[in-house]
């Protein structure tokens, strides 16, 4: 007879150790899988490491990939903190990028000092408003935000495709359906060889950390996340706090869109996100919604993505290997939570237990 008993709140070290152990198990499992497919796992992992951090250039590339992922994860984390399951980061990202592009296209005479903040604010606003739709529908009609945010992702991407093929198409790019490039004033400048987004993301992480952990608002968000009933009982205006938090979360995802469009693509395309919106749900969750941990986890995931791009050329292994790895790591970490929160008690005598 096995009985499952809830553990008292696990300590931070226990939490970290469990997670590390789960990741280790996942890597062992992934190694076995790779060996079964005929790849030498040590070589694969070694090359992923070399490919993501081997040279200064590759470290820069990894950081460039970390920036949008971290910003998206921060946005997702704010919503997740109150158990608002926003998986619409992808859509909010595109809406933010669209707003930024709109500013860049229509106010192309602005100097950079005005242009970039304007784009930033527009992206934040637009991403936030896009996230507001599921929040509004949830508070008004009790529709599942998981499903609405999911659907809105597709609506957003299709909308960008529409703009790209239709109204915003660059008339000069005769046959190609693409938008014009941004003017130079709309491109984020570089600091230490990497676009300034890395500073923006670090600042945002600090702000989100303070907001969630040191302010009354953050406290209210956590209470709502723990139990809506408790929050109501304590006199917290659940609807208001929810809407504000969702707007902030969506806004952060929008900012990620702005940074990608401005610094990487210098334009807007319907391929801009490369699926990072979905990855960010995972990174946010793996980081336990803590802002400092998000930066670390995002960097590790970005390294995985960058490294897998390297092994494709170096070892002819498809980049899909990164997805398999992400999946396996996630499965193990998800499973490990159980052993963190519960313990199994074995009874020798079944009758005695009953």
């Amino acid at each position: 007879m096995i009985q499952i008993v809830k553990r008292p709140d696990p300590s931070k070290t226990q939490d970290l150790l469990t997670r590390l152990f789960a990741v280790l198990c996942a890597l062992v499992c992934a190694s076995l899988l790779m060996a079964a497919l005929g790849y030498n796992p040590f070589k694969v992992f070694g090359n992923i490491f070399i490919g993501s951090t081997g040279t200064l250039h590759r470290i820069r590339e990894t950081i460039i990939k970390t920036i949008p992922l971290a910003a998206l994860s921060l946005g997702v984390a704010v919503a997740f903190k109150m158990k608002f399951w926003n998986i619409g980061a992808e859509g909010q990202f595109y809406m933010g990028a669209m707003a930024a592009a709109w500013v860049a296209f229509n106010f192309n005479r602005l100097p950079m000092i005005l242009m970039l903040p304007f784009m930033f604010c527009a992206a934040m606003l637009c991403g936030g408003l896009w996230a507001l739709i599921p929040a509004f529908l949830k508070s008004k009609f009790k529709t599942s935000e998981i499903l609405v945010t999911l659907m809105l992702n597709y609506v957003a991407v299709k909308w960008i495709t529409y703009l790209q093929y239709g109204p915003w198409k660059d008339p000069k790019a005769a046959g190609f359906a693409k938008m014009p490039k941004f003017v130079n004033a709309a491109v984020l400048p570089k600091v230490f060889g990497v676009h300034i987004g890395w500073i923006i993301v670090l600042v945002l992480a600090v702000l989100v950390h303070i907001l969630l952990n040191k302010t009354k608002f953050g406290y209210q968000v956590s209470v709502i996340g723990e139990s809506e009933y408790t929050a109501r009982y304590a006199g917290i205006s659940v609807a208001k706090i929810t809407l504000i938090a969702v707007i902030i979360g969506g806004g952060l995802c929008g900012v990620a869109g702005f940074m990608q469009a401005s610094a990487i693509e210098h334009s807007l395309t319907d391929q801009l996100s490369a699926g990072l919106g979905f990855t960010s749900v995972i990174t946010a969750w793996l980081a336990r919604l803590s802002a400092p941990a998000i930066i670390v986890v995002s960097f590790l995931f970005a390294a995985l993505l960058q490294g897998s791009a390297y092994i494709q050329t170096a070892m002819q292994i498809p980049t899909a290997v990164a997805e398999v790895l992400q999946g396996i790591i996630l499965f193990f970490v998800l499973g490990s939570e159980f052993f963190l929160n519960y313990k199994l008690v074995f009874h020798k005598n079944a009758k005695e237990a009953a």
């Binding site: 009985q3 499952i4 008993v5 809830k6 497919l37 399951w85 998986i87 529908l137 009609f141 009790k142 529709t143 599942s144 998981i146 499903l147 609405v148 999911l150 659907m151 809105l152 597709y154 609506v155 299709k158 909308w159 495709t161 529409y162 093929y165 239709g166 979905f278 990855t279 749900v281 995972i282 969750w285 292994i317 498809p318 980049t319 899909a320 290997v321 990164a322 997805e323 398999v324 790895l325 992400q326 999946g327 396996i328 996630l330 499965f331 998800l334 499973g335 939570e337 159980f338 519960y342």
Partner: protein, 321 residues
């Protein structure tokens, strides 16, 4: 070609496009009926697609290919079930992980399959054939009775699933678990066993849906062959209000919308004497927008049979009952 033939041909293709969506939706319904939201449909379909393709190339046996696809999907569902049922993990994140894992597996294994063709025997087995008599019915004949057997299995599965859920004792137990697992458990139903079996069975259906694409519809290997169909299926589970019969109509309706999207790719049309241009991208949005609208309407409608399973998405802890 006259208008009627064109319409029939168009609907014939729409039904084909709706077929994988229908399989995925049925799998999703089965899973959600026991209270688990599975966002891994896309991943399970991709795993089914790649393993079905490989099994077909390796054995040349159509039945074995479908079986392999189903088992691949079921395996994905089993991982999901272990984490969400036994280890009480979060449904949303686990489902997303499954989708990422599935598309990774498909991408990794599919690399060697590019350019390969399906064995002739398999292609011949799944070729469209005419059902004697029935195929002569105008429009409907082309839609359902001049199709591959694979296309025809899908609505049959849906009807069987409907009967299973609503007319059998086991189905009643199953729905009880989705509504109130605590009460079901108290009345002696083996909650976890039911959950495992049905989540895995749902995965089997999803896997079959994926294999339809790789073996019959395309039938070559393409990267990301499902192209988001799994997510439409997730939407369609709600769109059909968890009813397999409505899922048939819903899946073909989505198939038609996709078909129109292809046809109208920026085609000029005239309406009331004015030239208008319908963008296919805007048309592509319709399924997703309609799903949101349906979601709002069913919650507003308050009709009991249309509501989501009451315990959907809530983990069930026997000890905390």
């Amino acid at each position: 070609m006259d208008g009627l033939t064109q319409l029939s041909l168009f609907l014939q293709v729409s039904v084909q496009m709706g077929t994988p969506i229908l399989f995925g939706t049925l799998g999703g319904i089965l899973c959600e009926k026991v209270g688990h939201i599975n966002l891994g449909v896309e991943g399970m379909m991709l795993m089914g697609a790649v393993f079905g393709f490989m099994a077909s190339v390796a054995t040349g046996n159509p039945a074995f290919a479908v079986l392999a696809a189903g088992i691949a999907g079921a395996f994905g569902a089993l991982i999901y079930a272990v984490i969400t049922v036994s280890l009480r993990g979060n449904h949303t994140v686990t489902g997303l992980a499954l989708t990422i894992f599935g598309s990774g597996v498909a991408g990794l294994l599919g690399k060697q399959l590019t350019g390969m063709a399906q064995p002739e025997h398999v292609i011949a087995s799944f070729a469209a054939y005419s059902v004697p008599g029935l195929s002569k019915i105008p429009v409907l004949g082309e839609m359902f009775f001049q199709q591959s057997i694979y296309v025809q299995i899908a609505p049959v599965c849906a009807v069987l699933l409907y009967l299973y859920l609503n007319k059998t004792y086991v189905g009643l137990n199953l729905r009880a678990i989705g509504e109130n697992p605590g009460a079901a458990d108290a009345s002696g139903i083996k909650v976890n066993l039911y959950k495992y079996l049905h989540i895995v069975a749902g995965g089997f259906l999803c896997g079959m849906g994926g294999a339809y694409l790789s073996i019959v519809f395309v039938p070559h290997w393409q990267d990301n062959i499902t192209a988001g169909i799994g997510w439409i299926a997730v939407a369609l589970v709600i769109f059909s209000t968890w009813n397999p019969l409505k899922a048939i109509g819903g899946a073909y309706f989505f198939g038609i919308l996709r078909g129109i999207g292809y046809k109208l790719q920026n085609a000029d049309m005239s309406l009331f004497g004015r030239q208008i241009q319908i963008s296919s991208q805007l048309l592509d949005m319709i399924p997703y927008l309609m799903t949101i609208i349906v979601l709002v309407l069913i919650v507003q409608g308050k009709r009991r049979e249309n509501q989501p399973p009451h315990a959907l998405g809530n983990p069930y802890f026997r000890e905390e009952r």
